[in-house]
């Protein structure tokens, strides 16, 4: 099974979803009503399933807005600043999130996939 498939299984179990379509573009908070305790469970499950260290703040983009504010205050390039803090995000994804922030929490399933891939790659080369 690929990473998306495994994450879908985890989300289905944690959130008790039935027959719900989950794609990389699915919003976790906006569409799946994920709450903080669900995110904690998700972090623990990802740690177990993929054998990776999980930083809740990073994977769930908890400090994304803070980093944007910091970049503004420091008058530095926002995309560069954010992707330096959250290196599993591509520049295009960081831009997409910035444009989407007014709609609420922008976390999507594809961000979880990116994090898992990035962590595994890091640990492969460690």
């Amino acid at each position: 099974m690929n990473i998306l498939g495994e994450i879908k299984e985890i989300l289905t179990e944690i959130l008790d979803l039935e027959d719900r379509e989950i794609t990389p573009e699915t919003y976790l908070v906006r569409e799946l009503d994920v709450e903080s305790i669900d995110l904690l469970e998700l972090a623990v499950a990802l740690n177990s399933q993929f054998n990776i260290e999980v930083s809740d703040d990073d994977i769930f983009l908890k400090k994304f807005r803070l980093y944007v504010t910091e970049a503004e205050q420091q008058k530095t390039d926002m995309v560069q600043y954010v992707t330096a803090k959250l290196p599993f995000l591509t520049k295009s994804r960081a831009e997409e999130i910035m444009a989407d922030l007014d709609g609420g929490p922008a976390l999507k399933v594809k961000d979880l996939i990116s994090y898992v891939v990035w962590q595994r790659k890091d640990e492969t080369f460690a």
Partner: protein, 247 residues
């Protein structure tokens, strides 16, 4: 009534104190496997010496609340396989609030609150993987009724109680529950010498007219680890013979 336990592996923080050793013996006799932490060689030797009759039925590991690397090392060695946690760790900072040294204040709260929060994060996540766990914090009646000079001690105990309480609130639905126990005068460990010199004071203040024994406090802790007490969650209970109940 025979006590039943959901699980077997019990992490005992501050495992070299007398009460922890008494509890460890009770645990072993109840077929639990205690993993006691110590912060120095003296503590390790004391655990080995006093639990020598039970060799092979417990384990011990280094953990110092002033050494953050020791957390990783501990959990690396025990894995994420813990079912119970009993927390005896507490440092002392006996000082009037307006007299205390500032560096000591910062260090004290880092070691006794922040470090504890880190341990609880690790333990909570480990227990979430198993969808079960029971955590008992050994607080103190001083949390509710401190003497002058106990402000920092009381503060750290209250903050820690809040962490345990919230863990029980947040993870209760996943089978992970917590309780903080507030012992009063105990005729064991550091309390022994105090009670010896203040016998009259103890007799006067405590409705049952005596200090508790280490054995009975350890038995109470064991009860609160058992399945029989699962309904008690995210709260604080006094084991003080009624000390704090009256005026």
């Amino acid at each position: 009534m025979k006590l039943h336990f959901s699980g077997n592996r019990a992490l005992v923080l501050g495992g070299s104190c007398n009460l922890a050793i008494t509890l460890a013996e009770l645990m072993i006799k109840s077929d639990l496997f205690p993993i006691l932490t110590y912060r120095n060689d003296e503590g390790e030797r004391y655990i080995s010496k006093t639990l020598q009759p039970f060799a092979g039925k417990y384990n011990s590991h280094y953990l110092d609340f002033s050494d953050r690397d020791s957390v990783n090392s501990l959990f690396h060695q025990i894995g994420d396989d813990i079912d119970f946690l009993v927390d005896f760790v507490q440092g002392d900072l006996e000082s009037l609030v307006a007299s205390a040294d500032e560096d000591s204040i910062y260090r004290y709260f880092t070691e006794n609150v922040s470090f504890r929060a880190e341990i609880l994060k690790r333990a909570g996540r480990a227990m979430l993987k198993k969808k079960r766990g029971r955590l008992v914090f050994i607080s103190s009646t001083a949390a509710d009724k401190p003497n002058p000079g106990q402000g920092f001690y009381a503060s750290a105990k209250l903050a820690s109680e809040a962490l345990y309480r919230n863990l029980g609130i947040e993870l209760g639905k996943h089978g992970i529950t917590t309780v903080s126990l507030r012992p009063g005068y105990i005729d064991a460990g550091r309390g022994k010498a105090f009670i010896k010199t203040r016998q009259e004071e103890v007799m006067k203040k405590v409705p049952i007219k005596r200090a508790l024994t280490g054995q009975e406090v350890a038995e109470t802790i064991l009860f609160f680890l058992s399945d029989s007490s699962k309904g008690v969650n995210a709260t604080e209970i006094c084991i003080d013979g009624g000390l704090t109940a009256g005026k």
